[in-house]
C-alpha cells in the first residue's frame, strides 16, 4: 500500500508549477473569456508544454508521448485544472480524442491525427449531444446516408464546446434506421469543421464564451477513411470517451487550490468563525473526492471495467465542486458579485469558479446518469 506517486510525478508537478508561474499571468482565468488575448496565452502555453514533451506525458512513446504512468497524467490533469486549464481546449484532444484514436483508429488515422494533438496544434470538438438526445445519447438522430463510397451527414448537435475554434469534430451519427437496439448503427466520424455544410451558432451562457454552441450539419460529406472504430461500432468509442472524460477532469484540484488561495488572501482569522466547521469538512470532502478519482485511475491502470468506479468518482468530484464553490461564496459574501478584476476576491477566480461549477453536475453526463450506473452495479439492471 502506497499513496506516493513517485519521484518522476513529484518532479513533473514541480516543473508544471514553475512553467505556470513563469508563462501564465497571475489572475489568468482560462482561455475562454471575453479577452481574446487569453486564448492566445493558452495556445502559446500548449506549444511550450509540447516542446518539453509535457502535453502527452502518459501517451505511449510510439504515438509521440512520454510513456509516463497514468499517475503522471493525473498530475498534469490536476495542475492544469487547478490553474484554470491553461491548455485551453486542448485538454479534450489529449485526454480522450487521442487515446480513442489510438484504441480504435487505423494506422493511417493514428499517423494523421495524433502528431498534431501531441504538438498542441489542433483543437477538437465533440459532436455527441443533440436537442433530443442528451442523457439518452443513444437516441441521437443525426443521420449518415450513403453517398458513393462515403456518407452525407445531416442533423443538429448542441452544447458543443469550442466548436467555433475547433478544426476537427468527433461526430456521432446514425448509419441506417434506428432499430430495437438504439446503440447499433451509431458511427463515429472524424470530420474537419471547415467542410461545406457545417454551421456553428454560439449559445450565450453563464459559463462565458466558447463553452457552448449549436452545430448544424447539412448534407456534410464524410469519407470511409474518416470513420473511427468501424461503421456501426461508435457506441464503444463513445463509452470509452465518456469514461475518459469522467476520470479526466480533476475538478477537486481547483477546489483545493481556491480553498488554499482564498484562506491566504483573507489572512489570519480571515475565514469567518461561523464557517470553520464547514471549511474543515470541505478539506475532507476534497481529499475524499481526490481519493475516489485515484481509485478510478487505478482501475484504468489495471485495465478493469471502469463505468461504476468512474461514476462514483464523478458523483463525488462534481458535488464537491459545487459545495466548495458555495462555501467560498459564503466566505466572501457580497463581494462574490464583483466579477473579474484586481479588486475582486482572488481577482475574480472565485466568481469564475462558482459560475463554472454550476455545470459540473451536468457536463459529460449528468449525475442522475451516474447514479443510474452506480445503482445498476449495486442492484443489477432493473429495466
Amino acid at each position: 500500500m502506497d499513496f506516493d506517486f513517485g519521484e518522476r510525478a513529484t518532479l513533473l508537478r514541480e516543473r508544471l508549477r514553475e512553467l505556470i508561474a513563469t508563462e501564465i499571468p497571475s489572475g489568468y482565468l482560462g482561455a475562454f473569456t471575453d479577452d481574446p488575448a487569453d486564448l492566445e496565452i493558452a495556445q502559446r502555453f500548449c506549444r511550450t508544454l509540447a516542446a518539453e514533451g509535457l502535453l502527452t506525458v502518459a501517451w505511449p512513446e510510439e504515438f509521440g508521448g512520454g510513456g509516463g504512468s497514468v499517475w503522471e497524467q493525473t498530475v498534469v490533469r490536476e495542475e492544469m485544472w487547478a490553474h484554470h486549464e491553461p491548455r485551453g481546449a486542448q485538454y479534450m484532444g489529449l485526454n480522450w480524442v487521442g487515446p480513442a484514436i489510438m484504441a480504435f483508429g487505423s494506422d493511417e488515422q493514428r499517423q494523421r491525427f495524433l502528431p498534431p494533438i501531441a504538438a498542441g496544434e489542433v483543437i477538437w470538438c465533440q459532436g455527441f449531444s443533440e436537442p433530443d438526445a442528451g442523457s439518452d445519447l443513444a437516441s441521437l438522430s443525426t443521420r449518415a446516408v450513403e453517398d458513393g463510397d462515403g456518407w452525407r451527414v445531416t442533423g443538429q448537435k448542441i452544447w458543443t464546446s469550442y466548436a467555433e475554434m475547433a478544426q476537427w469534430c468527433v461526430l456521432a451519427a446514425r448509419v441506417g434506421p434506428m432499430g430495437a437496439k438504439k446503440h447499433e448503427g451509431i458511427t463515429i466520424f472524424l470530420v474537419p469543421m471547415d467542410r461545406d455544410g457545417i454551421a456553428v451558432r454560439p449559445i450565450r451562457s453563464m459559463l462565458g464564451p466558447h463553452h457552448l454552441n449549436e452545430c448544424f450539419f447539412d448534407e456534410v460529406w464524410v469519407g470511409p477513411d474518416e470513420v473511427l472504430g468501424g461503421v456501426g461500432q461508435g457506441w464503444a468509442v463513445i463509452r470509452r470517451a465518456l469514461a475518459h472524460e469522467r476520470v479526466g477532469i480533476a475538478r477537486y484540484a481547483r477546489c483545493d487550490r481556491l480553498l488554499s488561495a482564498l484562506a491566504a488572501e483573507l489572512g489570519p482569522g480571515g475565514i469567518p468563525e461561523r464557517l470553520r466547521a464547514q471549511w474543515a469538512r470541505a478539506l475532507i470532502e476534497v481529499r475524499v473526492a481526490r481519493l475516489l478519482a485515484y481509485r478510478a485511475v487505478r482501475g484504468q491502470e489495471e485495465g478493469l471495467p471502469s463505468d461504476d468506479r468512474a461514476s462514483l468518482a464523478r458523483l463525488a468530484v462534481t458535488q464537491c465542486d459545487q459545495h466548495v464553490a458555495e462555501l467560498l461564496f459564503q466566505a466572501i459574501e457580497g463581494r462574490s458579485l464583483d466579477g473579474k478584476g484586481p479588486a475582486a476576491p482572488l481577482a475574480g477566480a472565485v466568481e469564475d469558479y462558482w459560475r463554472y461549477a454550476q455545470a459540473a453536475t451536468v457536463a459529460s453526463g449528468t449525475i442522475e446518469i451516474q447514479r443510474m450506473i452506480v445503482s445498476r452495479a449495486l442492484l443489477g439492471d432493473r429495466r
Binding site: 506516493d4 487547478a82 480553498l259 474543515a280 481529499r287 481519493l291 462514483l312 445503482s375
Partner: protein
Amino acid sequence: MNPSLPDEAIAIGESVSRAFGARGGVDMARRAETNPAVRASEAGTLLDSFGAADLDPRDGLDSAAAAAELCRAAGRVVLPYPVVSALLAGANPKRPFAVIAGPDPARVDHGDLFDEWTVATIDGSTYDATVDGSPLGSRLGPFVTDVRVTDVLVAEPAPDATAGNGSAGNAAADDALTRVQLALTLGGWQILGTVERAMELAIEHVKGRVQFGQPIADFQAVQFQLADAAVAVGGLRELCLFTLWRVFHAPESGAADALALRVHALDVARSVLRVSQQLHGAAGVCDEYDISVLCRHIQPALRLPFGSERAVEELAREVDAIGFESLFPHGGVRL
C-alpha cells in the same frame, strides 16, 4: 502508487469474517445482550484465535493493515468486544487502551471486561483508569461503562511532541499520540465495516421486498438513495486506506489525518445508516432484522470519545496548527 491493502491483511479480514459468520454474525451481539459473558467467552476467544493479542498495530503498516481489516470485520457484525482498544493494549493484553473525551467524567465501551485501562485524551495526556460502576445496560450503549482516572501516565504532551517523531526523552508522549491516532483510525475502519454491512442489508432488502407488484429496488427513488450511499461508503473506504498509510508515512500530521477520518466516518455513518434503515421500512427498527442491531450497537463507537461536531472543532484547530495534506497548502505552514 498502489492504494490497496496488502494481500495478507485482506486474507486475515476474510478469515475473521468467515469465523464471525460461523458464530452467527450479528447474533453474537444479540446473545451478548442477554448473556454478557459471551463477550469474553465467544468474541474475545475468537479474536485470540486469530492472534489478536500478538498483533500490535504500532509495529508498522503491515500490522496496522491486518488490525484494520480485523476492525472492519468486527464492525460488520458489531462484535460485542472492544476490538480497537484490545488491539492497542500493547504488551499487556489485560490493559486495553481507549481515547476519552476528558478525564472526568470518562467512559469506554465494554469497560467492565477489564479491571484496568489506559485512557488518553486527544492531546495525548494519558492516564490509568479503573472501572467505576456497571455497564449502562441501555439499548444504545448496553456495555458502556464509566471509568475513573487514577494515575497520570503522561501529564501533557511536550511542545514538539508529534506521533513518531522520535524526539529523545519523550517516547511516552510520542507513543501516546500514536495510540490516539491509531485508535481514531481503527475506529474509522470499524465504522466502515458497519456501514458496508448496512448497505448490503439494504440492498438485499429492497431486492426482496415487493410493493405495488414489484421489488422496491425497481423504484428510482430507492436506487438513487443507494447510489449516494455507495459514494459515501466508497469514499470512506478510500479515506480509511489513506489515513492508515498516513499514520506511518507522515506521523507528524497524524492528528489532523486521524481527526479527518473520524469526522468523515461519523458523517457517513449518520447518512448511510439512516438510508439503510429507512429502506427497510418499519423492519428497520425491529431487532429481528440485523440493521436495527447494527444501528444500536455501533452507537458507542459513534458517540465515544466524542461526536462529529467536537471532532470537526478539533480538526479545525489541528489544521490551523499543523496544516492539512493536500495538493495545495492549508492552515499551518508545516505541510
